[in-house]
């Protein structure tokens, strides 16, 4: 094995000789520098390999042939091997990326780069504090020089501020080091540990000086303006090195120093870390400049890693797993993003729309952003999960809350940026050029992220059980994304069908219901996709990603698997939603609410695991530690997906603006994931357990109010898809209300609604979506008379709204009947009355779908539209058959449902007698009702047809105009603003209180960020003042007066 001293020897040998070798040309010297870094990478890889797969023990390298502390020694242990490998690999990739910009500045710049990488290696390996100081200075000077790779005054200003800041920091470090020698008589780290330096007289303050300098190197908030300027001002290729290599090395220095600083430092390191994490990410939301924003994110991530280091005693043997999981993701993803920013050459966030001109780059950008936020399958997902679990279990819930808050802030700006990239207008932007040597490193880090994700997941027992097959299918669809729709759609449908077939036997009936809705429903919605033409790039991978997540939560045996599925589903549905027109703001709010919900769920899973010896899903049935809070968090988390009132503001836009076949996916199907979660939670709480009755009672009210608000808002919509979207909110309110009753009848009603809502909302969204595709508008007043052109669509909508409104003979009535029985039984009369009232309101908007869209006058421009596509009609009519069967034979579904529910909620309230359901309040037989109503309907229809057979048909143009041309044509439409009167009566109920509330919060955060970031005045002197101030405040807090 090659001793690590050769890392230094080769770098300096090449470096010193370049003064002569530069005669051979800059390409030669550049190649030589890369070769040297390759060799350095090879050395650390060799050690890494020996530690990981062999029996290698940590090895000291003695310089000068004397034993420490008399000479300087280096240590090559497992961590050193990993970290130097990280530094050298990113150095190699970065060197390839920056080949031209280094070459442009000449062989001197190439050498400086090589020496920087070498110095970072030594910083990691050295065991002598003064040597540490020397090589820290080398790296600082090298960085100050390489900032200048980017030409212009801005980078010079940044570089000078950096020099000033680091010279103050290193002065403090040097004072600390010299006094540490004075009091102990040695400079060796291992001696400091064995002598426990902090117990010496003056030891505390000496440790303080060293420690604070090392912490300042990590750019803690708010003493980090100089760091931000460097990230913004330097060449993006070099920012990647600072973020990936330099910050990594500094973190390891912190770890090294912590070994002798004493445990009392741990708390403060975590504290500084969390302030940095939350502070940077909060200020990040105000950024419009990409590189500065990435700088904020980098500093924030380092803060999070400091938190982890501070908690290393509490996290115990999980520390390396968590630390490296988050570090690797950040290291790769941030380098990738910085490199991308150098390729795309877009400064402002909105200019990133140009990246869409090369879709593969959008994919890379998405990969990096999702890895940073901690989505599966990236390493940060598993690390964050373990971190939260361990912190909660050790009672540090406040810390978890702060970490999750910071993560949300980070998600705010990263996803807003991503949204711009996907949606912002890009016609006027000039396409960017690609240089092959710049792309290869980006590809490599992206592939490495996926690879490490899989590798990390196999490291622990719980995460290795995760089923990656659905995700592999997603990757496959990515790979075949260049094929036409027909092929991809068929592959997707067959894949889902086959997967359902294999998974079907493993599921209990409760889960089977949801799996059918998710997968069978998904297949039906996909069939409609055949109606589209072209390639529909990117649609299938993300749609299947959502389904992979959905089936993941169904199959989950552990809370980790559940959370994994939940996050996949969130990611997939986000992409589906943001594909729609004008969907950018809704996509962002959907993502943020989803993440907020997911983090609530994550925290709740953490609490639930306290005192348990596994993380099996069954632990939520028996939560031991603050169970009420845990259940409340779970419910809040799941209610973000059911869009209950207060958490619903993302839904109307997201569903209303989605593509025609996506709306049913995200409405009829996706919302049920939230229902599934709520159901699991309520089962966990248990029916007879009175201590949670407040929770259930509150949930009931939430359901009732949601039903009212959703339906009421739906009434005032002019946009057909938004109408359906609000209607979904209301319907989900019914379901939540039913489940919250925690009785057999309530659950039966709720589940009946689940199935019903799936059926009719899929029919309605598919049909209306298909109509929209034909007529090209969402606005109902721009439609009319379409019954003549699209009779089949008309019939579908008619059946859909009958089912929805809950009148006999269709299945909606089944649900209503069960509901009112349940309400009476439970005694929730007031809420029940609200539900009843909302049911009435539903008629007001449902009528409009028929009346405005299909009846009345056909519009001029719709005179030639065709019937909706056959590919939509197939799933629609399949679902209609489902509704008819369910309406005629409700017992076929309700009886098995009752059996499923019975273990949790005993079935003493409802008795079945053949096809007749009997409760205390009466009985009801679906088949009979359907038959009677059917006969009555046919009879009336017959009478009508006979009595009007001689009537004169008024043709559309039998109308005389008065010669006026209305200024706003829609006002002449009979159905426009038809509920004006109602609105006058009801308007207080439609004030968007919730939107106002969330807007206020958003504005408040923005104002805080906007105000706080003004401390970064750009003045180098102010930055020095911040640093000194930071030192002194920390000093007064830690050492005291």
């Amino acid at each position: 094995m090659v001793t690590p001293i050769f890392i230094v020897a080769i770098a300096l040998g090449v470096g010193f000789s370049i003064g002569v070798l530069n005669k051979l040309g800059k390409n030669f010297t550049g190649g030589l520098v890369l070769a040297a870094i390759t060799f350095m990478t090879f050395i650390s890889y060799q050690w890494f390999y020996a530690f990981t797969f062999g029996e290698q023990t940590p090895t000291y390298v003695y310089t000068a042939g004397f034993k420490p502390p008399f000479s300087i020694n280096l240590l090559m242990g497992q961590y050193e091997a990993i970290i130097t490998l990280m530094i050298n690999s990113i150095g190699l990739l970065g060197g390839i990326y920056m080949f031209n910009s280094l070459k442009e500045r000449g062989s001197n710049a190439q050498v400086v780069y090589l020496i920087l990488i070498m110095a970072l290696n030594v910083i990691v390996m050295t065991r002598d504090v003064f040597n540490l100081f020397v090589f820290l200075e080398i790296s600082s000077i090298a960085i100050a020089g390489l900032i200048l790779l980017e030409k212009g005054t801005r980078s010079m200003g940044a570089g000078f501020k950096y020099v000033l800041a680091t010279s103050i920091i290193s002065s403090i470090l040097l004072i600390g080091i010299i006094f540490s020698y004075f009091i102990t008589g040695t400079l060796n780290v291992d001696d400091f540990i064995s002598l426990s330096i902090s117990t010496y007289k003056g030891g505390a303050i000496v440790v303080f000086l060293i420690m604070i300098a090392v912490i300042l190197e990590l750019k803690p908030f708010p003493a980090n303006g100089w760091g931000l300027d460097v990230y913004e001002g330097s060449d993006p290729g070099f920012s990647a090195i600072i973020s990936g290599a330099s910050a990594t090395a500094s973190l390891y220095v912190l770890y090294k120093i912590m070994a002798f600083a004493g445990v009392e430092w741990n708390y403060y390191i975590s504290l500084i870390g969390i302030v940095t994490f939350v502070g940077s990410n909060l200020l990040g939301i105000k950024q419009e400049n990409t590189r500065r924003m990435l700088g904020y994110s980098s500093i924030g991530q380092v803060g999070l890693l400091m938190v982890i280091l501070g908690f290393k005693d509490i996290l115990g043997e999980n520390t390396p797993y968590i630390f490296f999981g988050i570090l690797i993701s950040h290291y790769l993803a941030k380098a990738g993003l910085f490199w991308l920013s150098g390729i795309v050459r877009a400064k402002g966030l909105k200019e990133w729309a140009v990246i869409r001109k090369k879709p593969f780059f959008l994919f890379l950008m998405g990969t990096f952003i999702f890895a940073l936020i901690g989505f599966p399958p990236f390493p940060s997902f598993f690390a964050k999960w373990t971190l939260v679990m361990d912190l909660v279990q050790s009672g540090n819930i406040v810390w978890v809350a702060a970490i999750l808050f910071g993560s949300i802030m980070e998600a705010v700006y990263l996803f807003r940026w991503f949204g711009y990239a996907i949606k912002e207008e890009n016609k006027h932007l000039e396409d960017f050029k690609i240089e092959i040597h710049k792309i290869i490193p980006v590809w490599i880090v992206a592939i490495a992220l996926y690879g490490f994700g899989y590798f990390v997941s196999q490291l622990t027992e719980v995460s290795s059980t995760i089923n990656f097959i659905p995700f592999a299918f997603v990757i496959l669809l990515f790979a075949i994304d260049f094929l036409p729709i027909f092929v991809k759609n068929t592959v997707a449908i067959l894949g889902m069908a086959f997967y359902f077939y294999t998974i079907y036997p493993q599921l209990d009936n409760f889960r089977l219901i949801f799996e059918v809705i998710f997968i069978v429903g998904g297949i039906l919605a996909l069939i409609a996709g055949y109606a589209y033409k072209g390639k529909r790039e990117g649609f299938y991978p993300v749609a299947i990603l959502m389904y992979a997540g959905l089936t993941g939560i169904i199959e989950a045996k552990t809370t980790l698997e559940f959370f994994y599925g939940w996050e996949l589903m969130t990611a997939g549905s986000y992409f589906l939603i943001i594909r729609g027109h004008r969907s950018m703001p809704h996509g962002l709010s959907y993502m943020l609410f989803s993440l907020g919900g997911a983090y609530a769920i994550l925290a709740a899973f953490g609490i639930a695991s306290v005192g348990q010896d596994s993380i099996s899903m069954s632990i939520i049935n028996n939560i031991q530690y603050i169970p009420t809070w845990a259940y409340a968090l779970l419910i809040v988390g799941f209610l973000t997906k059911t869009a209950s009132v207060g958490l619903h503001i993302w839904l109307p836009g997201a569903h209303g603006e989605a593509e025609s076949d996506v709306s049913p996916m995200v409405s009829a199907i996706l919302l049920k994931a939230g229902v599934f979660g709520v159901a699991l939670t309520l089962i966990g709480m248990g029916a007879e357990n009175n201590q949670y009755s407040v929770l259930a009672y509150t949930l009931g009210w939430i359901g009732a109010i949601t039903a009212l608000v959703g339906n009421l808002m739906a009434v005032f919509q002019e946009d057909a898809k938004r109408l359906l979207a609000y209607s979904s909110i209301g319907q989900l309110g019914y379901i939540v209300f039913g489940l919250a009753m925690m009785t057999h009848l309530g659950w039966l009603g709720g589940f009946s609604y689940v199935i019903n809502h799936f059926l009719y909302k899929a029919i309605l969204f598919l049909t209306i979506g298909a109509v929209v595709l034909r007529v090209g508008t969402h606005n109902m007043y721009e439609m009319g008379g379409l019954i003549k052109r699209m009779p089949l669509a008309f019939i579908a909508v008619l059946i859909g709204i009958i089912a929805l409104s809950g009148v006999p003979p269709l299945s909606g009535f089944t649900g209503k009947w069960l509901f009112y029985n349940a309400v009476l039984d439970k005694g929730w009369y007031l809420q029940g009355a609200i539900m009843f009232f909302s049911g009435g309101i539903a008629f007001l908007y449902l009528w409009r779908l028929i009346h405005t869209v299909f009846l009345g006058q056909l519009k001029d421009n719709h005179r030639t539209v065709k019937e909706i596509s056959i590919w939509f009609l197939i799933p629609i009519y399949t679902l209609i058959v489902g509704i008819l069967v369910y309406s005629a034979k409700p017992q076929w579904i309700l009886q098995p449902l009752a059996e499923i529910i019975a273990p949790f909620f005993p079935s003493n309230q409802l008795v079945w007698n053949g096809g007749t359901a009997i409760s205390h309040y009466g009985n009801w037989a679906g088949t009979m009702v359907m038959a009677i109503i059917g006969i009555a309907f046919l009879a009336v229809l017959g009478v009508q047809l006979i009595s009007t057979r001689k009537a004169h048909k008024v043709k559309q143009f039998d109308i005389t105009y008065a010669g006026e041309r209305p200024e706003r044509p829609e006002t002449t439409h009979v159905a426009y603003n038809v509920f004006e009167g109602l609105y006058k009566a009801m308007w207080p109920a439609t004030i968007p209180l919730v939107e106002t509330f969330w807007n206020k919060i958003t504005n408040y955060l923005h104002d805080t960020a906007g105000f706080t970031r003004r401390i970064y005045s750009g003045n180098g002197q102010a930055y020095m003042l911040h640093i000194v101030f930071f030192i002194l405040v920390t000093y007064l807090v830690i050492i005291g007066g």
């Binding site: 001793t3 001293i5 230094v8 020897a9 300096l12 040998g13 470096g15 010193f16 000789s17 003064g19 002569v20 070798l21 390298v61 003695y62 310089t63 000068a64 042939g65 004397f66 502390p69 008399f70 000479s71 300087i72 500045r105 000449g106 001197n108 710049a109 050498v111 400086v112 110095a119 030594v122 040597n131 020397v134 200075e137 080398i138 000077i141 090298a142 100050a144 020089g145 200048l148 004072i175 006094f179 020698y181 004075f182 009091i183 102990t184 008589g185 040695t186 007289k201 003056g202 303050i205 000496v206 000086l209 003042l1025 000194v1028 101030f1029 030192i1031 002194l1032 000093y1035 007064l1036 050492i1039």
Partner: protein, 233 residues
């Protein structure tokens, strides 16, 4: 005003913090720790009369390598930072004539300064001084030359060759230490020689000579770059 008060406050607290550091100081009466070891063993282990030199070049030779690297880095950075545009490079500015005294003195002194610098780094293991000091002295000679004759053209190639060869030689001698002695930068690659004479202390005189040449070349290089960068104005 507010800012000044704030700064005054900051300086006051800083002074308070340093006062606390100051208070940890107690007058020492004897050597302790590693210093005691060096005092006892340096002479026989390393063979240099100057214990500081034995620490700088051997015991903490790795630091010294770092120091040399820092000078090298600074020179490299300044080289590409202050690099002139093509048209500036060929521009020649006529400096006024400097004083007769300076010119004459430099003609006399420069060779002596160079000689003195070489003396200082060759005798680094015996007397106060060494490579850095000697190198710095040589550079003052260069500074004097430039001041006496601002129009002088210093030969870049010579500086680069000296700098490169001495730097690489330092690393190679260091590597010899791994092969022939106890480790990287070990000076005992040859016999220690007779204590207190010029040819003693193993590789120390060799290493210090390389360091002296390299330091002299680097600093001269920096001076030269500064001098030339005036053309940009």
């Amino acid at each position: 005003m507010l800012k000044n008060t704030l700064i005054a406050l900051v300086i006051a607290v800083l002074a308070y913090m340093f006062y606390n550091v100051y208070n940890t100081y107690e007058t020492r009466t004897s050597l302790s720790g590693v210093a005691e070891y060096y005092a006892t063993n340096a002479a026989k282990e390393v063979g240099a009369a100057n214990i500081v030199t034995s620490i700088v070049v051997t015991y903490r030779g790795f630091d010294t390598l770092g120091e040399v690297t820092i000078l090298f880095l600074t020179a490299s950075i300044i080289s590409f930072f202050l690099k002139l545009k093509e048209e500036d490079e060929n521009k020649s500015i006529k400096h006024g004539i400097t004083s007769e005294l300076l010119i004459t003195a430099s003609q006399v002194l420069v060779p002596i300064i160079f000689l003195f610098g070489i003396y200082v780094f060759i005798n680094g293991h015996l007397t106060p001084g060494g490579g850095f000091q000697g190198g710095a002295i040589i550079a003052t000679g260069v500074a004097l030359m430039i001041m006496a004759n601002p129009n002088i053209r210093i030969n870049n190639h010579v500086i680069h060759w000296v700098e490169s060869i001495s730097g690489v030689a330092f690393v190679i001698v260091g590597l010899f230490g791994i092969v022939l002695a106890g480790g990287f930068l070990d000076n005992r690659i040859s016999g220690l020689g007779e204590f207190g004479t010029l040819f003693s202390a193993g590789a120390i005189p060799i290493i210090y000579s390389f360091i002296g040449l390299k330091v002299g070349a680097e600093i001269s290089n920096i001076l030269n770059k500064y001098q030339k960068s005036q053309k940009e104005l």
